[in-house]
Amino acid sequence: MVNTAVDIAGIRMKNPVMTASGTFGSGLEFSDFLDLGQLGAIVVKGMTLEPCSGNKGRRMAETAAGMLNCIGLENPGADEFINKTLPKLAEFDTPVIVNIAGKTIEEYGELAGRLNVAGVAGLEVNISCPNVKQGGIVFGTDPACAASVISEVKKASKLPVIAKLSPNVTNIVEMAQAVEAVGADAVSLINTLLGMAIDIKTCKPVLGNIVGGLSGPAVKPVALRMVWQVASAVKVPVIGMGGIMCADDAIEFLLAGASAVAVGTANFVNPRATIQIAQGIEEYLSERGLTDVKQLVGMVNN
């Protein structure tokens, strides 16, 4: 028997495969394709206190082995989620982690407080959205700002708090250490890499927001490097993500030091990707005669 269960900052998961925020809706969108009860955790689409309509214009562009998006945190707001979506997710025996975003530090705190409700297992704090002008990346690229946001959320929340880090920084280790110092229970990385595409026929940017976040297999080597750097420098668990398409990719992140992984863009290509990756990790462990997924974490031979 292979044990795939992991505990991330007190959140018990059947396996280390989570969904990456923004790529899995509320989870319910995928229920025709897989049993949500078999996932490690569901991380829902980034949420704001009030409903948000997102960015105007074209929001998605495919690039080489990846895609750019500038959705801009479109979501129905916290109340709608708590009243309508959360009760449906409660039917599945899978922890629900809510990704939160705010325009001000106070708003992060207020939203975190609002989510102290049954059925929410943890918060992932989006201090790294590249697509909203206020908030998001502003908080995610300055260590002191990032720490203030996490500190405010920790004060307001009874739940485990995961800080989602932006790769759009010079020194990601410094960011991770800054949020760890103010009590972040885990860190997740990477969010998307800021990118751009231009239509040479019209000479205009492809995306309505001009720039957007790059995700998909194209970003995986960058993500893996950052996960490895951060995992070697912090004591809290690291959730690794960025271009994971298959079990082999996920195993790389575990070896680099991630205690769990999140699958993002792959969900768009293969709606069953999460479940297949969880199965693939289990097979890899069995083949190697390992009994526990934790035996892989950080085991890269440098």
Binding site: G22, E29, D32, G54, R59, M67, E74, P217, T265, F268
Partner: protein, 254 residues
């Protein structure tokens, strides 16, 4: 209706014009469930580049044979790969996706522009034997390969081309005022957005219910990524992939 992942087999990939082909797939589960106006999401090849699936509207669904017919214009790397598919090749198919047309009518008028004509082929099949009139609009007669798809099942086929190389010279909107004197009780339109908004306006003025089929770049096709959302008339946001692609014209903020 549950969405299905199915490995489809290419039956045929027929050249229609210089840049348009018709892909025929054996995809029995999806073919038996598909409704006019719905689409499939095809992953062509196992490579990460291009990465995403391609949304394609269903032009034919034969539940007896278990086949789907897809017309596509070769415009980029995804469709270039599609164009190379050969009989016997496998493609990963997700569908049927989205909300199709409401077929509740007695005397329908169908209006299609360019590749937007594709879903109207399937719609015509399902509306038959009701008396159907259709307006097919294109840039030139080269694009008017659709006539055979409509000739047998439609009472009247009106053709417009921008250059006048076939049918009426002009766009669909130009022939519409005369047609609307007849007693249609439903208008279906799929094509470029300016054409659809123009038709929606004329339909509203004539008091005829109108359904439009919208298009937007999308990544997931199942309501998760929010790439394709749009503002609706009631102040809400709609997802073109799951709330649409077919909407009532008055739901849309043009």
């Amino acid at each position: 209706m549950p969405k299905i992942v199915e490995i489809a087999t290419v039956i045929d990939n027929i050249r229609i014009t210089d840049d348009v082909k018709k892909l025929v797939l054996s995809s029995p589960k999806i073919a038996t469930q598909a409704r006019p106006g719905q689409f499939i999401h095809l992953k062509i090849g196992g490579s990460y580049d291009p990465l995403l699936r391609r949304p394609l509207s269903i032009a034919e669904a034969n539940s007896d044979k278990g086949t789907l017919g897809i017309y596509y214009r070769v415009v980029g790397r995804g469709t270039e790969l599609m164009a190379q598919l050969k009989s016997g090749d496998m493609v990963d198919n997700v569908g049927p996706l989205g909300q199709g047309f409401d077929l509740n009518c007695k005397r329908p008028l169908l209006i299609g522009g360019g590749m937007g004509i594709a879903p109207l082929v399937f719609l015509t099949q399902e509306l038959c034997p009701r008396p159907i009139e259709v307006v097919l609009a294109g840039r030139t007669n080269q694009e008017m390969f659709w006539q055979d798809c409509f000739a047998r099942s439609c009472q009247d086929v009106h053709i417009t081309t921008d250059d006048g190389s076939l049918g009426f010279k002009g766009n669909a909107l130009a022939v519409l005022p005369n047609l609307l004197d007849k007693k249609f009780d439903m208008i279906y339109v799929c094509g470029p957005k300016p054409m659809m908004s123009g038709v929606a306006k004329l339909a509203s003025r004539a008091g005829i219910p109108c359904q439009v089929s919208l298009e937007e770049h999308m990544a997931c096709g199942i309501g998760a990524c929010l790439s394709c959302t749009c503002a609706a008339g009631d102040g809400t946001r709609k997802k073109i992939c799951t709330d649409g692609p077919v909407f009532w014209a008055e739901e849309v903020v043009w």
